[in-house]
């Protein structure tokens, strides 16, 4: 048991990750100029108990708007927005605007019952028409960052009003986990008013039906929220009046503010930072085995990783156990077989885990005709954990002669490299070369994913040939079939059988290296109770009390 585990009061069974902070180079410079003497060791958890709950969050890359959201803006939307259902800290779903849901027709049809009396934060009622508009607009909006969640699964015609309290989703293909797709896991898909612009203009009103209402919003800096007086849940009685979400460039820069009483909580932080906190003054919270991860794509359709033996060799160089134990301080689950399935209950545990084996890796490199290795660029964005992961890849690959040059962009929190090609499509028979120094278009790059309660989105948006965020561009029929089988599986037994196929194919093809899963670590000063963050990084402050 780690030190952190001893103080855990927010434990998730599955589906956890961390969404934390971006470390930009310029911000690093600014941070370095901090008057260190006045900060280090101050440790005073002396925040005055008041009616404002102040939380440090990660940086935005895009506006906190449904159609445009990404990264740090999800912290904001998760407070003002409301979904049909919401992923709890334990990875399961709780009813929100929907009171219940059920599948029929072999999980190809999903029926949602809508709660009566739900209102937007301006007092107007939420109608079935609003909900239908929200989901239909995902197919027409531009940009529409959630569209990929529905690709091949649903189209605009499939969303049907039955009556004022019932909506049916007629899917294009069966999906056993579909409620997750219309939950807060699709974090930009909060319900908006019929006809509303869900783009950047939405940030002026943030009109949705969540527990909090926007009072002021300074993009990329700070959002002040007040209670939504029309919130449907009568049990919503937080012990404070206002919430401030303050963006920090890195967890490290937020901690001094926490220690000096300028913050009540930090929504996510590195293990080393957490372990440095005085446990008599701060509650350090974490979730157990998580599903959030940052993974390395190995480009399958061009460049030096086209040969699967080279990809397998690269994956065999990594000391996964050592990294989790040493650098991650033991807070994280080891994933050995490089598939996204392992953290989930549906995973087949009989599939062997991949372990470091440098000799075997060298043999594979020899077989592939590159015994002396090669030089390749790794492109990603700057963030504490990603920086460390990139260094792990560099030192690991070097064992078999692969010289990795790191291109880590911290200029704007990674937006420039990440979103150069947005979305980054996969298409069989086509090679999208683009600029090799752009994140998803590179030979190798690191991408982080927040923790979903089910792996469907990862499979749909990254692993399939129709994926829109495919860094690896695997484009493999066998994998596609396994994924389709998994998504359509209506029960755990069939999911497990399909999961095994995905896991084995992932081990064989190795389009991605998933060296570990990451746990979400967050903290609050003593006196703050009821503070939770779910595996997506969404803050759950409804039951927070301040003392």
């Amino acid at each position: 048991m780690t030190i952190i585990d001893e103080t855990t009061n927010g434990v998730a069974k599955t589906g956890v990750s961390r969404r934390h902070f971006i470390q930009g180079a310029a911000a690093t410079a600014a941070g370095a100029a901090l008057p260190v003497a006045g900060i280090v060791g101050s440790g005073a958890a002396s925040a005055a108990a008041g009616t404002t709950f102040r939380v440090a969050t990660g940086k935005q890359v895009h506006p906190a708007a449904p159609w445009e959201t990404s990264d740090g803006s999800l912290f904001i939307i998760s407070q003002v927005g409301e979904w049909l259902c919401f992923q709890k800290a334990d990875g399961s779903l709780e009813p929100r605007i929907a009171t219940s849901w059920k599948s029929s027709n072999g999980a190809k049809t999903w029926t949602f019952k809508i709660r009566k009396g739900v209102k937007f934060n301006d007092g107007t009622p939420v109608t079935v028409e609003d909900i239908i508009y929200t989901y239909q607009s995902v197919f027409t909006a531009n940009p529409s960052r959630s569209k990929g969640n529905f690709t091949g699964l649903l189209d605009a015609n499939g969303i049907v009003k039955v009556d004022n309290e019932t909506i049916v989703f007629n899917l294009l293909t069966a999906s056993g986990n579909f409620p997750y797709t219309v939950s807060s896991v699709s974090y930009g898909m909060c319900i908006i008013k019929k006809g509303a612009d869900g783009g950047a203009a939405w940030t002026k009103t943030m009109l949705s039906a969540g527990p909090w209402k926007m009072e002021s919003y300074t993009e990329f800096e700070k959002t002040v929220l007040v209670k939504n007086p029309y919130y449907w849940d009568t049990n919503f009685k937080p012990g404070f009046d206002k919430m401030e979400l303050i963006q920090y460039t890195s967890a490290a820069t937020a901690l001094p503010a926490l220690k000096t009483g300028k913050l009540d909580a930090v929504a996510a932080l590195e293990a080393a930072d957490a372990l440095s906190l005085d446990k008599s003054k701060f509650n350090i919270l974490t979730t157990k085995a998580g599903a959030g991860f940052a993974h390395v794509h190995l480009r399958c359709n061009f460049g030096p990783f086209m040969d699967k033996r080279v990809r397998q060799a690269a994956a065999l160089t990594i000391d996964r156990v050592g990294y989790v134990k040493g650098v991650m301080k033991g807070i994280g689950g080891v994933v050995g077989n490089d598939s996204v399935m392992d953290p989930y209950a549906s995973a087949d545990k009989s599939v062997p885990q991949r372990k470091m084996d440098v000799n075997k890796a060298k043999e594979l490199m020899k077989e592939a005709g590159v015994p002396k290795g090669f030089t390749v660029d790794l492109s990603t964005w700057a963030r504490d954990d990603i920086n460390k992961y990139a260094k792990l890849i560099k030192t690991s690959f070097a064992k078999i002669g692969i010289k990795v040059n790191l291109f880590i962009d911290g200029s704007d929190g990674g937006g420039a490299v990440y979103y150069t090609y947005n979305p980054y499509p996969s298409a069989k028979g086509k090679v999208f070369a683009y600029d090799n120094h752009s994140w998803l278009a590179s030979n190798i790059g690191i991408t982080d994913w927040a923790g979903r309660g089910v792996p469907d989105q990862y499979l749909q948006r990254e692993w399939k040939s129709t994926a829109d965020w495919s860094g690896a561009q695997l484009n493999d029929d066998v994998m596609d079939a396994a994924i389709d089988e998994y998504i359509a599986a209506p029960n755990p037994a069939k999911q497990k059988a399909a999961s095994k196929k995905v896991q084995e194919r992932a081990l064989e093809m190795t389009p991605y290296i998933l060296a570990y899963t990451s746990n979400l670590i967050y903290c609050a000063r003593k006196g703050v109770t009821g503070f939770e963050v779910n595996s997506m990084g969404q803050i759950i402050a409804n039951n927070v009390k301040l003392a």
Partner: protein
């Protein structure tokens, strides 16, 4: 060539030789210079032989010993990636020394050439070139360097060297020009002209040796600035590869750990930068004293 001009030229050669001997003797007795050259020599040796003598490979990660404070095995401790700080500091001297020397040499060559030409010819060419150089000088050097590095290639040491050299060129050119303006009035220059020597000969054989003292001093001053510029750029993530054993990069990677009371991964590369910069400044001070500039 007439006899009197030849006599002047020979005399000036003999004088220069004598002055040089005296200056070397003075430098040997100058404490600031001696300390500076010793420290610089130490880092130069580290740059050349460092990777052969460090206890660990600079990139090696040992996950059993992550963020360990200085001890008998890890003299400077380990960083958050389990890498030996001592080995990285020693090996890290190479890149900053090579880059700073290369940038300063290039800038000095370019600046000296421009200064010689503008100071000798004067006229409209001098006016135009100097105004251009003044315009470049008016922008803070680090801003130009940062923008240029970011715009051209984020982490190419070679390009970074050229950019820093470009940024230094105006200052060196102005210094050299001022010296040349004074030298051009001396008899030996007139004598060379009387001998109908070609202009390059007058510039590089006659004038240049006589303006070397300010050039040498300017070189050392610029070298100090180059060290800071490269350290700053690498701290900001520009100019060198992330994760490389480079002092500025090491500070950038580890400074946040100061808040966790892990000072060693930041302090030692910072001290290394300071000692290198101070050593170069001491050399510069020593040269200033000896050259009586």
């Amino acid at each position: 060539m007439n006899d009197s001009s030849t006599e002047i030229s020979k005399k000036s050669d003999a004088e220069r030789l004598q002055i040089r001997k005296e200056r070397i003797a003075l430098l040997r007795r100058n404490k600031a210079f001696t300390i500076g050259i010793t420290v610089l020599g130490f880092w130069t040796l580290c740059a050349i032989f460092g990777k052969y003598v460090t206890p660990f490979k600079s990139d090696e990660q040992n996950f059993e010993f992550v963020s360990i404070s200085p001890n008998g095995t890890y003299w400077f401790g380990t960083d958050a990636n389990g890498q030996d700080v001592f080995s990285r500091v020693i090996v890290g001297s190479r890149l900053i020394l090579v880059m700073s020397f290369a940038a300063t040499i290039l800038g000095t060559l370019a600046g000296t050439s421009l200064g010689l030409i503008t100071g000798y010819f004067k006229g409209w060419f001098d006016i135009i070139v100097m105004r251009l150089l003044e315009a470049i000088s008016s922008i803070p050097a680090i801003i130009i360097a940062l923008l240029a590095v970011a715009a051209i290639d984020g982490q190419s040491p070679t390009i970074t060297v050229f950019i820093i050299a470009f940024v230094f060129t105006p200052n060196i050119a102005r210094t050299v020009r001022a010296a040349v303006l004074a030298e051009a009035e001396f008899e030996y220059v007139a004598a060379a002209k009387l001998r109908t020597e070609r202009t390059p000969h007058i510039l590089f054989k006659e004038i240049l040796p006589n303006v070397m003292p300010p050039i040498i001093v300017e070189f050392t001053v610029r070298l100090g600035y180059a060290i800071f510029a490269i350290a700053t750029l690498s701290f900001l993530g520009a100019g060198v590869e992330y994760g490389s054993p480079n002092w500025g990069t090491q500070i950038s990677e580890n400074w946040a750990q100061i808040f966790n009371n892990q000072w060693w991964p930041t302090a030692f590369p910072a001290i290394a930068i300071a000692t290198l910069a101070v050593s170069v400044n001491l050399i510069s001070d020593g040269l200033l004293e000896v050259f009586e500039i």
